[in-house]
């Protein structure tokens, strides 16, 4: 699986309202691509088109048919009448050697620290545990493309950061291609190799940032990330106003890219105290 997936010239409308128009997106293999944008900008629609749950009106997606997809939804979408173990077993049945399923399930339950809860039903688990189980299901499934649609929405901040760390750990183990959709810029910067900011009506790509800091070194409050966060916040705020070719957006971009001195700042503030 070497070729990158590309969404090319995608159009999608709902009830006569154009959500996506001539939309393009490149998804590099074995990387985490984060898509950030305001609510209602069509982030989930992009994932639904990629997963085949929705079909685009126009355009094509390259190499998607070669991909086996798993999806971590906004809600855990677990079967309430199956226990944790059986929720995982269900998606693995007929996808891998029957004899290996049990050990695979145990491994992934252990990875998300739910080994002690394998016989619990979803209604006996907390919200965070259910999300962890849904995450284990998405990673355990032998997919090469993992779609994540704001899977940590609704969790409190400490739990959300724990889940981000867990996602990073699982990605390091598996190296799956991940498309992570969120409206939380900080979440995207902590997780993504590439962060794509969306905005406007219909939705366009406002900018794409390559985050060159190793994922394990990223920390909340690090100057470089904070600067990128501020930039993306400004960009999305003005982009969501929906004025095409807005000069203010260009100004924001110029200001960000001209200040090259920030690029040399290290991210690890503990080893390198801030010099501002």
């Amino acid at each position: 699986m070497k070729n990158d997936i590309e969404m090319l010239h995608i159009d999608k409308s709902y009830n006569g309202f154009n959500i996506l128009e001539d939309f393009n997106l490149k998804i590099p293999r074995n990387k985490i691509t984060c898509i950030v944008g305001p609510s209602g900008c069509g982030k989930s629609t992009i994932l639904n088109i990629l997963s085949g749950l929705t079909h685009q009106d126009k355009g094509e997606i390259t190499y998607i048919e070669e991909s086996l997809i798993s999806y971590a939804f906004q809600e855990p979408r677990l079967l309430p009448w199956r226990n944790a173990k059986d929720n995982l077993r269900l998606v693995l049945k007929n996808k891998m050697n029957e004899a290996l399923i049990d050990s695979h399930v145990d491994y992934w339950l252990d990875s998300v620290e739910l080994s002690d809860y394998k016989d619990y039903f979803p209604n006996q688990l907390s919200g965070g545990m259910m999300q962890r189980l849904a995450l284990a299901r998405a990673f355990a499934f032998p997919s090469n493309l993992l779609l994540m649609d704001e899977p940590f929405k609704g969790l409190d901040a400490p739990l959300r950061h724990k889940m981000i760390a867990l996602t990073r750990k699982l990605w390091q183990q598996e190296n799956k291609t991940i498309v992570f959709v969120t409206h939380d810029i900080q979440e995207a910067l902590l997780l993504g190799h590439r962060v794509i900011a969306l905005g406007g009506k219909p939705t366009t790509t406002l900018d794409e940032l390559e985050i060159d800091i190793p994922v394990e070194d990223r920390k909340i409050g690090c100057v470089k990330l904070a600067r990128q966060q501020g930039y993306l916040y400004d960009l999305i705020e003005h982009g969501s106003l929906g004025v095409k070719n807005c000069p203010r957006i260009q100004q924001i971009k110029n200001r960000f890219y001209d200040q090259k001195s920030f690029e040399t700042l290290p991210c690890d503030d503990e080893k390198h105290p801030r010099k501002l």
């Binding site: 085949g52 749950l53 798993s70 999806y71 939804f73 979408r77 079967l79 269900l90 049945k93």
Partner: protein
């Protein structure tokens, strides 16, 4: 509400009922209100009568066969017509109509259509309760969480697995609710059908008792039907609890 019924309340209300019944039996002649003692005496007498067991087992057999046929048929019909909205639009009003048709109409029609044997009783039970099961199953099918079906589609879960893991558990509460209502109707219907159409079974035995104005026998047989009904409701509750153990 039913969970709040405790044993003490049930015992006290039973005693009160028996006292009222006993007082009524002192006021009215036995042909109108036989005493509880007389009814219990007849019930005990039936236990020593092999012919009673034959009638009891034939009533049980008819009831259970009719019940199982209508449950299976009702679920299958609901699944079949749920696929296309056209079929559902055409057939749903018929299911509602079937549910409204009085049982006695079916009994009279069946007496013309069938020979007077077990077939007729099984047919009447099936046609009476099948619509209830089908309508409840359809309601369940309409209420399946679409987000779970989307999850199944993304994870490429196969058809039989989807039926077993999503469809059946989702509609189970609706089916069980229909089965519970249908079970009550089954025993009432089987006795009524036997009383009017055949010469065997508890219903036929009641018919003989009626011709000799043996109210005590009618009540003794009625108590047996109540016991059968309660027993099978208990079995159904156990099966339901097993399927819904995740709700704990």
């Amino acid at each position: 509400m039913l969970k709040q019924l405790n044993k003490k309340t049930l015992f006290l209300s039973s005693i009160t009922f028996l006292i009222i019944w006993q007082i009524a039996s002192w006021i009215y002649p036995p042909v109108i209100v036989p005493s509880p003692y007389l009814v219990i005496k007849n019930m005990v007498m039936y236990l020593g009568n092999p012919e009673f067991y034959a009638d009891l087992s034939i009533t049980l057999m008819r009831g259970l066969i009719g019940y199982v046929i209508s449950v299976v048929l009702g679920i299958l019909i609901a699944f079949s017509i749920n696929h296309t909205s056209l079929l559902k639009n055409i057939l749903y009003p018929y299911l509602l109509t079937l549910q409204i048709i009085p049982r006695i109409s079916w009994i009279l029609i069946a007496m013309i259509w069938f020979p007077l044997n077990s077939q007729i009783v099984i047919f009447i039970i099936s046609i009476t309760i099948m619509p209830t099961i089908a309508i409840n199953t359809l309601e369940g099918l309409e209420n399946i969480d679409p987000s779970l079906l989307e999850m199944a589609k993304v994870y490429k879960i196969k058809g039989p697995q989807i039926i077993r893991n999503i469809y059946l558990p989702s509609i189970a509460p609706y089916i069980f609710s229909g089965m519970k209502i249908a079970l009550g109707i089954t025993w009432k219907t089987v006795v009524m059908a036997e009383l009017l159409t055949v010469q065997t079974g508890i219903g036929a035995r009641m018919s003989y008792a009626k011709t000799s104005f043996s109210t005590d026998h009618i009540l003794a047989l009625t108590v047996y039907i109540i016991i059968i009904g309660l027993f099978f409701q208990g079995v159904l509750s156990k099966v339901k609890a097993h399927f819904e153990r995740w709700k704990i």
